[in-house]
């Protein structure tokens, strides 16, 4: 039992961590927390099932198409819900615009795809029992993603430009960095990462429209725990959350495990509003 708790805990934890990274990627260049993060994860599963199962494409083209579609939705998010409200960031209008967009995505999926969970295909057909691909695939994808992002941010010019914008928007613009294009690029990247989360976790979570708000909430917890914009914190927080949730699931049952997660979340947040590795808030006066 312990083995299966750990296997499934790490698997869902990896999905949560990836959604957390999706949040962070959007936040880095825009200072906006977007409610669409969870929907992107949900769409990763839905598009994956659509392309690979319903349309019968091979895995690789299906993956590429899924990533492309979600990247596009990321860009649409930036144009529709983020750019218009960036001028008045202090009024927090982005909470409302991204929530509205997230609901539009969710409801359209429910109406046009299905209101019932749909199956997700096996991707590699490797492993069985606790070594089944549905458990280790999300973990591998999560680790590859974080390594890839570290490489991007540290070793490439575009990645360094991202970091510069995240550190100091004004200074970066003064240096002549194309702030708007970089922001669009980061939203496309976030879309792809969210899609990866849904695609890799598809066999666990299935292609289901209601995964959107679920992933939105459980993906936000790692961000809150790890500190805004801190990807490594999100990964650690994601795995911890996954393990805690699955352990609670096995011990006290589904409904009370979500109560336990929520209570723990509130307590941790109230005790450490900046997260475990977060920075202090800015000066106000």
């Amino acid at each position: 039992m312990l083995a299966s708790i750990i296997a499934s805990g790490l698997a869902v934890g990896a999905v949560y961590a990836l959604i957390g990274i999706t949040y962070n990627t959007m936040f880095a260049t825009s200072r906006v927390m977007s409610f669409t993060a969870g929907q992107l994860g949900m769409l990763g599963g839905v598009f994956g099932s659509l392309f690979a199962l319903r349309l019968g494409l091979p895995v690789l083209p299906a993956l590429v198409l899924t990533l492309a579609c979600c990247a596009l939705i990321g860009v649409v998010t930036e144009i529709v819900a983020v750019r218009p409200v960036l001028k008045s960031l202090d009024q927090h209008l982005y909470v409302l615009t991204t929530l509205a967009l997230a609901l539009l995505i969710q409801h359209t999926t429910a109406m046009e795809w299905s209101t019932e969970p749909q199956p997700f295909p096996r991707l590699l057909n490797l492993g069985s029992g606790i070594w089944d691909e549905k458990y280790w695939l999300p973990v591998v994808v999560c680790l590859l993603t974080i390594l890839g992002l570290e490489y991007l941010y540290r070793r490439t010019l575009v990645g360094r430009a991202f970091v510069a914008i995240a550190e100091d928007n004004f200074a970066a613009r003064a240096l002549g960095l194309p702030e708007r294009n970089l922001r669009i690029a980061s939203y496309a990247l976030a879309g792809a990462i969210g899609a990866l989360a849904g695609f890799a976790g598809g066999q666990l979570l299935l292609a289901f429209f209601a995964n959107g708000p679920l992933l939105n909430f459980y993906g936000f917890i790692p961000v809150a725990l790890g500190g805004l914009g801190n990807n490594r914190g999100a990964v650690i927080g994601g795995f911890l959350l996954g393990l805690f949730q699955q352990a609670a699931n096995f011990m006290v049952g589904g409904i009370f495990s979500s109560v336990a997660v929520f209570t723990l979340f509130i307590i941790v947040l109230l005790a450490a509003p900046q997260g475990m590795f977060g920075a202090q808030a800015a000066r106000r006066v």
Binding site: L104, H107, V259
Partner: protein, 601 residues
Amino acid sequence: MDATTGTAPPRAAAAVKLAGPLTPLWPFLLLLASGLAMPLTGNDYWGLIATRMAVYWVLVAGLNLIVGFAGQLAIGYVALLTIGAYTTSVLAAGNVLPPLPAFAALGVAGLAGAVFGVVVGLPALRLRTFYFAMTTLGFATIVTQITLAWQDVTGGGIGIPGPMLPEPFDTTWGFLYFCLGFAAVCTWLTANIARSRFGRALVAVRDAEVAAEASGIHKPKLLVLVFILAGALAAMAGGLFATLQTYITPDAFTFDLSLLFFIAVLIGGRGSILGPLLGTVILTVLPEIAAPLAAWSTFLYAALLLVIVLAMPGGIAALIDPRGRRKLPENRVIAPLPEALDALLGQRQVPEPLRLRGIVLAFGGVRAIDGVDLEVAPGQVHGLIGPNGSGKTTTLNVISGYYRPEAGSMAIGAAPLPAGQPQGRAALRIARTFQTPRLIGEASVLENVMIGGTIDGKAGFAEALLSLPRQRRDERELEARARLALEAVGLAGLGEVRADRLQHSELRFMEIARALMLRPAFLMLDEPAAGLSTEEIRRLGALIRNISRHGTGVLLVEHHADLIFDICDQVTVLNLGKVLAAGTPAEIRVHREVVSAYLGA
């Protein structure tokens, strides 16, 4: 001006009455009358819709104070509706305790709602906006799951019957009348809060949090009171909702409802009562007249939310608010009235001096202030000058309690002034203005100024809720004092204007009026002359001198050397966080280091 009475300042005040949130009253009465006339249609279905509208409004009226006034994005408010519906139904059905009468059950639900209202709201006191929105959503999910799981009490997925109200409220029309009456009372209650110092403080916390603190507004206390009220109303709406449904299951409390409540406030517009009421009416009717779209109602609400935020952020309230369009007088002149200042400040007991000794404060490795000594004497104007980054504003922020110094002491006379605690300064009669005016753009100039007198209100929240005599007396006094303050700074004719329509120079004087509401012992002005014309600077100088003559100690941070040397009794010059020189203007003017470091040859 009135020649015969000589010194008495003109009172334009008496003519215009402060417009409350229920002014004009006729739209409210019209809505109520059409609700009351529903039985004439003989159509039970429409009676049902009207009842639902009234029930929703009971919840939205409270939520409006949280979202529309305090600006807290509480999205998952369906949770409180659920709690209220189940509390009432379970208590009335008697499957836990002996059955209670429906009205008693409704009352208990209100209490439960008050408690859970605070539980849902508490994170708002500590967390950032997005985090708070997220926790309210999480809470809504949890409550639904608990109602599903706790089968012994809630009936789980099967549900339980809603409570029946006794005669004469047990018919369609009787229940409609009961709900309409309840909704009318809620409208009155929330309007009372909206027009009290509590309502103004809520808006101040939303739009000008720093200025609210400087005016002595204690945000957590204020928000908790409003969470209690809104929670109680929402839970009682839940009880009525259960009666209306006659049978409730967890499915009845969808996220759509949360969205409906939340969007009703936003469509209505912030800081209004009529707007959200109309929003509730529209959103309740919309799915009925667009029946084929019922399956898409979430989509519709979401699209509406997006359009409102992007296209008409002011909501309905902005469309129906005449203040935004009325023409302002041209060629306005700011003409401070010394007589009004006399009437406002009077002659008071002279306070003891404010002393700073060896104040040190570093940001990271930079010592922003490094051992500053300063003494502001009552009845004097003390100038604080120095190059940019020399620590002037930082010194002001230390005195106002926004920063805690690492070393040094502050005291008024013999009484030590505690470090930190910006909300405590108003009670000590320490007032201030800000380098960039902190205003509530959507409120009138008069309301902005009244914020400054918040701590002098004597009536409590409950008295404000019921608009009891002491509350009304408070309001009259605050309003009269605010009009005096506006006359004193020379903005007498502009009380009813929306603050965001004033010119920059007028805003600077409005901030001084707000500070004067405290009848301050010490007044700190942060670059009040920035952006003013020469003539306005001259009048500002006279006003400041005049204020100090009434016993107030003024600490003036300024770059206009002429103004400083004209009106100051004492001048302290800062450079790199240290006191470079201190003395009378005459001494400073010839101080060699000051001249070379700051004033120039």
